[in-house]
Every structure is written in C-alpha cells, then in structure tokens.
Symmetry: C2
Subunit: 246 residues, 2 copies
C-alpha cells in the first residue's frame, strides 16, 4: 500500500535483518538460509524469511510451506512452517517457469514484501538474496539499511574470487559483510573418511581477505538435500552452530 | 563490425552449434561445457567455445586460457587452449567484479563474439549460456537459429522443475532441446562405494518428461574440480561418452 513505511528500517526496530548472499548459484545459499532460519527458531527466536531469490526461489519448497499467504485487512499474512514465517516470489509464480519480472515492478514487489506483510516484529528477518549481484540487492539495501550480509561459499579456492562479488556488491550499497559460511565443506563416508570433494580452505581464505569471521562450515549431508526436497529442513544441519554465532 | 553476418547462421554452415543450458547455477554447466569441448577436440574435431555466461564466466579459467584475444585486421583472433578456441566476457572483465552490462549493449557484444571473431569454420561451436533464462538466450537464439540445446542438471528430483526452465526458454525462442546431461550423479569413495550425495533419477526423469535422450551421467570427480581450478580439464571426465553421443 502507498506510503506504508518498512518497519525494519525504523531506528527503533528490534529485528535483526540478515541478508544471505553468494557470488554464484548452487553453493547452497537457499539451503543455508532455510536451515539457519529453523535453527534460530529452535532456539526460541521468532523468525521471518523473505525469499528474494526471485528467479530461483526455493524457500517455500525447502521449508515445506503448504499454504499461500492470506489477505486480511489489506495485509498479507505469511504462512508459517517449522516455526518460520515466509514470503516468497514462489507464491506468485511456478517453479518450472522463468519469472520475467524486472526493474521498477520488481522493486515495488520487494517493497511490498516488507511493507504489506504482517510480520509482527520478528527477532530475525532472513533475506534469501539472488546469487551474484544485481538490482535486487540495491533495492533491498535501500529498504534494510541496517542489513547484515553473510556470504555463503564453497571450499574450492577458485570459488572465492566469485564469492567476492557478493562482498563488492555489499560494499557498493553500503552494507557490511558480517561473516562467511562455507558450505559443502566435506563429505563423510560411511566409515567416517572425510572426502574433500570440493577442495578446502576457500571459506577461511575469503574470511581473511574480507577480515570477517568464518562463522561456520557445513558438510555435504545427503539428508540435508533430501530434507530440502521434501520440505523438512534438518535442524541438526546446524552442526557448526552458525545460529549460535550469528 | 557493422553489417557482418554470423557465419554459423548461414544455411551452408557446417558448424554444429551446441548451446549448453541449465535451470540454475552450480549444476556444473560450465564444467560440462569445458570438458565436452576438450573431449570433442581429442576426437579430432575443431572446437570453439563462446562463453556467454556473462555474469558468471569461468570458461577461461577452466580451460587454462593464458592469453587474451589478439586483434588482426579488425578481427579478434581467439586464444587456444587444449585444442579449443575461446572467446569470453572474461577477457574484458575481472572475475571478482560483477559485470553490469545489460540490454542492447550486451546483445551487441554477443553478436560481435560471433561476427568479429576469426573462427575458421569449426566443426563444433559450444556456447556456455548463463544459468536460468534470460535475454541472452533470446539474443543467441536469433544469432544461432540452428542451435541445439543441451540441459545440464543434477540428480535430485526437485532439481528437475528448475531445470525445466531451460527447456521452457528453448521452446520460447524456438530452439530444440536435444539431450540432458546429469552431472554430480554420484561420488565413488576410495573403496568403490557409490554415494548418491545428491540423490538419483533426476536426469532420467527430465529426459523422459522432455522426450529427449539422457546422453550422459557424470560423477562427482574431485580431479574435475581441481582441473577446473587449475585450467587442466580432465579429458577422462568424458566417462559417460557424451562426446560420442552428441
Ligand atoms: N550441505 C549440503 N549437503 C547436501 N546437499 C546440499 C547442501 N547444501 C546444499 N545442498 C543441495 O545442493 C543444491 C543447491 O543448493 P541451493 O541451496 O539451492 O543453492 P543456491 O541457493 O546457492 O543456488 C540443493 O539441491 C540443495 O539441497
Ligand atoms: N562432476 C563434477 N565433479 C566435481 N566437481 C564438479 C563437477 N562438476 C562441477 N564441479 C565443480 O562444481 C563447481 C560448480 O560448477 P560450474 O561448472 O561452475 O557450475 P555452473 O556453470 O552450473 O554454475 C565448480 O567448482 C566445478 O569445478
């Protein structure tokens, strides 16, 4: 609705806005966002997720969200799943169809996700950003000027140059990168052997280069992917305690 | 240069244009493109790669391309590596910086990759598309009306709805999907155990849905990622013989 302000942009807002970013797709950014949200909720926090990954939305599927938002008194009431309230472009589009929204229309839609949704002052607002960089990040930085950016990357050293794009983007829109999360860090075989399928050290390297903490390493856990596919995020997937560190 | 035609669009062109697509980033589309190019070259074919993955270019690094294109008589002469000639947005941008080209400027740049580069009638022209869908695919379909689209996906069933976007895009621009390549199909432990880290069946399912062949399954091979990072594509990474099938 016209003229409504964004509650999270107010100086007296008690909500921490965490923007989950990546340099490219497929590093597990959406998975990390979904599981981090549930981990925080399991610690008794009230959590909201804005799925701003417009062209690659997967949060509704990953959280097993069963119903669409309801409209009450001009406000969207977001559905809840596993203790997390969710709004996503996915509620207004099909996963197998490309979303062609761009430019001012998209900017307005994102703004409405923040102004016209009944969020009720959550402790945490997690935002799943599109991979890489782009207009959406610029819009969101305007809407959430105190947003804290966390970059999800993978262990291969070559991935860090690409992951750095997310950091450049944050700097451009004057948001701070608060930490790095290294996903798919290793795979543990049945006999406990640790296979570094995607190499090692990338998360540490990026954290050092940006002078921010490496807040966690998440291994390749087949149950995590299965959970993502079936909408049951595995709360044990907070093995490195990012929820504690965040 | 103005008015130059695209050699590959001519009806008498003997070059097969293979457009390598994916529904989202991180499924290994660029890796598959690079390794397929080298596999074809190892079979004695002349191969060119146009890295149209503008915002996520990785082909130069993956193929270990050491020098930039040279300009001779108004034409760009592409560098060669492992028997493959390459042009990429990566020659005109840094990997750790977001590329902000959009719209008509990008359309023109892509056209020039095809008209103003000395390609010398290769047997195969592989095009690494950006993940997902977008304007670039529309442009390329105009430039390469006989392009054959191959979709790279991963084994998880949930990935297929997303992979289907690439098929929708192809249909929209009137190009045919010719085959599916399932990447990261499994991981073989030291003792030969096959771990289906990302599930199974997705490639088969997508191929059946689109009524095209599943032309290959590529396992997770750490050496493939290392090769990609160091620019030495592992030619043995054609384990399922896509180069033979394509
Ligand atoms: N730690 C992990 N272990 C196993 N599978 C994972 C892990 N992280 C992500 N995945 C899987 O990898 C795929 C890509 O993850 P996704 O979160 O969609 O990446 P992004 O949001 O960066 O594009 C998904 O199928 C997801 O379930
Ligand atoms: N079959 C494979 N085995 C091991 N690593 C792989 C395999 N395919 C891709 N990778 C690695 O996974 C990462 C993502 O692959 P990439 O080709 O960049 O994906 P995309 O082009 O779809 O974004 C890269 O680090 C790459 O080296």
């Amino acid at each position: 609705s016209e003229g409504r302000e964004i509650p999270f942009a107010r100086p007296d807002s008690t909500t921490r806005a965490l923007l989950i970013a990546s340099g490219k797709g497929g590093v597990g950014k959406s998975s990390v966002t979904a599981n981090l949200a549930v981990a925080l909720s399991n610690r008794g926090k009230s959590v909201a997720v804005v799925d701003a990954d417009v062209w690659g939305f997967s949060i509704p599927r990953m959280l097993g969200v069963e119903r669409a938002p309801v409209v009450i008194d001009d406000m969207l009431v977001p559905p809840e799943s596993h203790g997390v309230n969710v709004i996503s472009m996915g509620f207004f589009a099909r996963e197998d169809q490309p979303v062609i929204w761009r430019g001012p229309m998209l900017h307005k839609a994102l703004e409405q996700f923040l102004t016209d949704v009944y969020w009720d002052e959550p402790d945490y607002l997690l935002v799943d950003l599109p991979p890489g960089t782009g207009d959406i990040s610029i819009s969101l930085a305007q809407f959430l000027p105190r947003g804290e950016v966390f970059v999800v990357t993978t262990p291969q050293p070559a991935a860090q140059r690409v992951a750095q794009r997310a950091a450049f983007m944050a700097e451009k829109v004057r948001l701070e990168v608060k930490g790095i999360i290294e996903n798919m860090a290793w795979f543990a075989g049945d006999d406990g052997t640790r296979y570094e399928i995607f190499g090692s050290g990338g998360g540490r390297e990026l954290a050092e280069r940006l002078d921010v903490p490496l807040i966690g390493q998440v291994p390749l856990v087949p149950a995590l992917r299965e959970g993502a596919d079936t909408g049951v995020p595995i709360v044990v997937s907070d093995p490195s305690g990012e929820a504690a560190t965040v």
